[in-house]
């Protein structure tokens, strides 16, 4: 097996703030192979979107720097690569889909032309109007010929998100980075878009990096799940295993917070408080102030990675014993 398509290797990211450089991601270690699918899960402020944006370095260098480790996409160290090399990676190797389709689309350009533009940049030999319309049809847009002539504001949120997906998929990227692609959508449309992602992955053989705050949506899409908290990966393992037998108390809280149908309990498993801001990370385990199972020792030293099960570990020394009870 060669080098993976995408790898975070002890990646540490700092952002420029008014009071100097602030560490926001701390030693991220993750890999995504060709055709593989990984979900990054965490609350707002956990750093998951910054991870996604680092894949093709969408962050400007004067605002973001990598202080140790690296992000490698298709063998290229994206924080050392020049702008020209990056432009070759963006779109062609890794395509992006964002949370707000209305903000991602050009409001003054027809939908068909936006797909055509992606083809022209990355697959000039296929840059024909008919090909753009075919991509709109492939992502399930009804009457694609008519929709291609429309502007983004004439489409519903669900159709807009399908259009951004068509733009991202048209260059046939090897990796699709989907950052909360269904959060702004109705549950019915969310289910359709998730199915579309799974289908596109099967047909095009691409890898997916899915960013979401909802553990409910990863099933059926992701092979593996990585849970982020305060700039660190706190749990990582196969999707079914993480959902059924979470190791880290934080992951358990996230699983419990998803409302389920027919659930007899009166209260959802809620987790008070919020993710500590970068710069205010507590010493020792960063989750310890909110952790229902915290012990005195948790505040002393940063917990090491606990590879409790096969390919499934967590940043908590008590992971297995707590899970067993």
């Amino acid at each position: 097996m060669g080098a993976p398509l995408l790898s975070f290797e002890g990646f540490t990211l700092e952002l420029a703030t008014a009071s100097g450089w602030l560490r926001v991601l701390d030693g991220i270690d993750l890999r995504v192979g060709e055709g593989e699918s990984l979900a990054l899960v965490g609350e707002s402020g956990s750093g998951k979107t910054l991870c996604a944006q680092s894949v093709t370095r969408l962050l400007p260098l004067h605002h973001a720097r990598c202080t140790s480790g690296a992000v490698r996409l298709s063998g290229v160290d994206v924080f050392k690569a020049g702008e020209r090399d990056l432009r070759r990676l963006r779109g062609a190797v890794a395509g992006h889909v964002f949370q707000e389709p209305a903000a991602a689309l050009n409001p003054a350009m027809r939908i068909g032309d936006q797909v055509l533009e992606a083809l022209r940049l990355h697959r000039p030999s296929e840059a024909r109007h008919a090909e753009a319309v075919r991509w709109l049809a492939r992502v399930g847009i009804p009457a694609p010929e008519d929709r291609a002539r429309q502007f983004p504001h004439e489409l519903s949120g669900g159709l807009q998100q399908r259009a951004t997906l068509a733009i991202a998929l048209a260059p046939r990227p090897r990796l699709l980075v989907a950052d909360e692609p269904t959060t702004a959508l109705d549950v019915t449309v969310q289910a359709q878009v998730l199915e579309l992602l799974a289908q596109a992955r099967a047909e095009l053989g691409m890898a997916i990096l899915l960013v979401t705050h909802n553990l409910g949506v990863v099933e059926g899409i992701a092979d593996r799940v990585a849970v982020l908290y305060a700039g660190q990966v706190v749990e990582h393992g196969p999707t079914a295993d993480v959902l059924a037998r979470p190791l880290h108390p934080y992951t358990r809280a996230l699983v419990a917070s998803v409302p389920r149908l027919g659930q007899a309990t009166d209260r959802l498993g809620a987790l008070p408080g919020s993710v500590p801001a970068p710069g205010a990370w507590p010493t020792g385990c960063r989750f310890q102030p909110r952790c229902p199972q915290a012990r005195a020792s948790c505040g002393e030293a940063s917990p090491p990675w606990n590879a409790a099960r096969l390919a499934h570990g967590a940043r908590c020394p008590f992971a297995t014993e707590e899970a067993a009870t």
Partner: protein
């Protein structure tokens, strides 16, 4: 028993596609012939996709819109189109848009008191505001801060605290948790569940997520293209949905460890400007027959307390028996 809130055959039309002189060339049927009642202390969930008219209905209930036809009764009194009914408060989806950015939290929470001309000392005001904040899980330090200093979930609680300040008997909650992370959503849902229990608050809880609605509501009302398609006790509607649309909404709920059924329903709701003939759901319905394409199904009681508008659901119910 007299209902706390009764909405009777309400219809809301908006002018659309104005011509060069601003005269409407079409009418958008946002809500069409909807009746709803909420008893004291009862939580009713209002479910549907974007554009189904659930928010419009919520605004009609709160008196923020005057319906084209129909009556809204509060405690037996006609309050159609009158906002500011004492005892009825609204909490909005967009917490940053609903709070004045230049007011401190103390001012925001105390506004309902001052607006009603209540005379209170500064100390008294702060003490009572702090008590309300404590009830929604925020500490006293929040009083002198501005809305931007809070996270979305915290701002949503400030909105709830402000609504509680008016001592309401009922809250209209319009998609109050849909913009929040699931973990924060769970906190707000638990808070609302506690208020329901402790204060005996009635609620109209509007959402597109059936799992959240089932969690909070005793009764669920499902809307599609401005009309009611199903109504019944929460447990029943979620365990034995009658309408194919409700079945599709249930199948779409994302849950860890439950494989999603493939494509519960295709496409999106048609535009309310050009509603389909017959049953409004027929173009997306897996059970649609010739009758569904031609004839609007009647709103009928299939069993006591269970209402549905579907030609095909009848067969299902008789098979299942009482």
């Amino acid at each position: 028993m007299k209902a706390l809130l009764a909405v009777e055959d309400v219809r809301m039309l908006y002018p659309a596609r104005p011509d060069a002189w601003g005269r409407p060339r079409a009418w958008l049927h946002a809500v069409d012939g909807v009746s709803l009642r909420v008893d004291a202390g009862e939580v009713v969930g209002l479910v549907g996709e974007s554009g189904c008219g659930k928010s419009t209905l919520g605004r009609i209930v709160a008196g923020l819109e005057k319906p084209t036809r129909g009556v809204v009764r509060w405690d037996g009194l006609d309050v159609t189109g009158r906002a500011g009914t004492p005892g009825l408060q609204m909490v909005f989806q967009d917490s940053s848009g609903a709070l004045d950015p230049r007011w401190t939290v103390a001012q925001i929470v105390a506004e309902p008191w001052l607006a009603r001309g209540r005379r209170m000392s500064r100390a008294e005001l702060r003490q009572e505001a702090a008590a309300l904040l404590a009830e929604v899980g925020l500490d006293e330090g929040a009083l002198d801060r501005f809305p931007h200093a809070f996270s979305g979930g915290q701002r949503q609680r400030i909105g709830i605290a402000r609504a509680l300040a008016a001592r309401p008997r009922m809250l209209v909650c319009d998609e109050v948790v849909s913009a929040l992370d699931v973990s924060v959503q769970a906190l707000v849902v638990n808070l609302l569940a506690r208020l329901r229990g402790e204060r005996g608050l009635a609620m109209v809880f509007i959402s597109h997520d059936l799992a959240v609605v089932e969690h909070l509501s005793q009764r669920i009302v499902v809307m599609y293209l401005g009309r009611l398609v199903e109504e019944g006790p929460s447990r029943d509607v979620c365990s034995r949905p009658l309408h194919p649309y409700t079945q599709a909404l249930l199948a779409a709920v994302p849950e860890p460890g439950r494989p999603r059924s493939r494509a519960p329903v295709q496409g999106e709701a048609p535009s309310p400007l050009a509603p389909p003939t017959g049953c409004p759901f027929h173009p997306r319905c897996p059970l649609a027959s010739a009758r569904c394409r031609a004839e609007m199904p009647a709103w009928r009681e299939s069993s006591p307390g269970r209402w549905v508008a579907c030609h095909e659901a009848a067969a299902d119910v008789s098979q299942r028996g009482p």
